[in-house]
Amino acid sequence: MMDYLLNEQQIMIRDLCKQVAEEKIAPVAAEYDKTEEFPWPIVKALAQADLFGVSIPEEYGGLGGGVLETCIATEELSKACGGITLCFAASYLGLDPILLFGTNEQKKKYLPDLAAGKKLAAFAVTEPAAGSDASAIQTTAKKKGDHYILNGTKHFITNGGDADIYVVIAMSDKTKGARGATAFIVEKGTKGFTFGKKEDKLGIRASSTRELIFTDCEVPKENILSREGMGFIVTMKTFDVSRPGVASQALGIAAGALEAAAKYSKERVQFGKPISSFQGIQWMLADMATEIEAARALIYSTARMIDAGVKNVSKESAMAKLFASDVAMKVTTDAVQIFGGYGYMKEYPAEKRMRDAKITQIYEGTNQIQRNIIALQLIKEMAK
């Protein structure tokens, strides 16, 4: 691995996550993939290791790191299982809007429990008719005195049902289009807030993906993040800082696949020699390693840019997510190829990584949407 000149704390996070990944996650990854149970024992181990507080300020019980620290952790954990790691990473996605837009009171109320891993968070934008087109959101929020009444259904929500704290985007004024959306913090247990269907997925099966149903759900106005009408800004800014996290998940899945494939190629003997001695395999491994390193360099640079406080990071953030997830899909597919027939069998973890990788090209904005974001910024920059 290239030397990214990590500081002492970042190395500590990386090493501890490596230990968690190898000792706690790797031995149970296949089982959770099969049963689709929520990996509470692992979540508890991550909480005990303080890993849920990596990017939360110290005043709220965290370690005071930033996006880079979260990325390092997500990458290392994803090497063992991208699905289990998502339970962790999705909680960061849910708390990012609180970190970015929360008032002091909101931060004080929600962040300490999230930093301690006592509670998980989730972010709810997607609806059956509103995927890439987030402006098509149907969930409504009607003001009534000191409250808003939420009605509608969110779906495909990661950590749905298992998280305690949800940031939900709803239309408070449909006539205003995108400017009519508002972000609310909704706690599990709020009257009128229930959970629907749990999805049966191709990959990341340890992670729960579920429907959220709001039926005359009363949310106090203090739970608005930022202001009424800021829902889309909250969403976009959240994705700007969370996309390097998805990219890191993809990176970790890819790096885990390369490591396994390289190891297997030295053990697998055909024509009297380990297959690692064949140029056809060597070149595949070389390409996989190069693409992984390029993805890592892009992610770390983007994360450092965000942590340094650079204002507009949409383009770089989208690039990191786009590139790393495409790399993950290619690398995991090639890893299956190196494992040959065994790679196709569920007995080996190669096929699981390929299944887990696919989602990273789809969620938090499809890779087509990422290209839109990148192109839009490019054109804006050219107009200057």
């Binding site: 501890l16 968690v20 181990a45 290791a49 303080d50 990596v54």
Partner: protein
Amino acid sequence: MNNIVVCIKQVPDTADVKINPETNTLVREGVKSIINPFDMYAIEEAVRLKEKTGAKTIVITMGPPQAEAALKEAISMGIDEAYLVSDRAFAGSDTLATSYTLANAIKKTGEFSVILCGKQASDGDTAQVGPGISTHLDIPQVTYVKKIEEFKDNTARVERMTEEGFEILEAPLPCLFTVVKEINEPRLPSLKGIMRSKSAKIKLLNAQELDIEADRLGLKGSPTQVVKIFSPERRKGGEIFNCAAEEAAEKLVNILKDSLH
């Protein structure tokens, strides 16, 4: 509740132990040192008892200066304070001298209610130091503890593994427990723990600081003599007599007779 003291030992990682066939001693060069795996359960149990009772936890080890790394690892798992019992005078200690030294060192750490040890160390495998400490301190001991049920009226109620099953015992505090791996699942270090361990001050206790008799220390205080260490020969597979019982018995008797000569 008074302090909970955990005794640990730094040992070579058993995953890559090699024996020098000429000297029949452990090859220690280049072998990673770890906390004795059984002691990890003792550390975990101490941290759990601390979380339950609020008692202060103390880790103690006797060994060379590099054993500090083992103490720091214990701190990163949540132990509060660490003592390194280290002196050239302790070199060559057997289990009697070690338990004598440790017992005296534990007295220096303050009032304690519970002492926890792993059931044995993975290098020596004697399982003697824990019981030795309790004898020197004149406190009760329960070995092979698989569950600490509760503390009530200065008494501990524990489950002790036996070959047939388990016993439920009550012991007055202070008491020493040696624990087995069934007792818990050791946690990983935490980030805050690791940071704390980096700046933690390890308290050093040398021979002078302990009120002990010099001739009971180290090689001098160690009546155990290691006559020979060797890798046991691999047992050959048995032989099956495919014949009538009487004939087989006769063959067996002859083989046994021959082996006596």
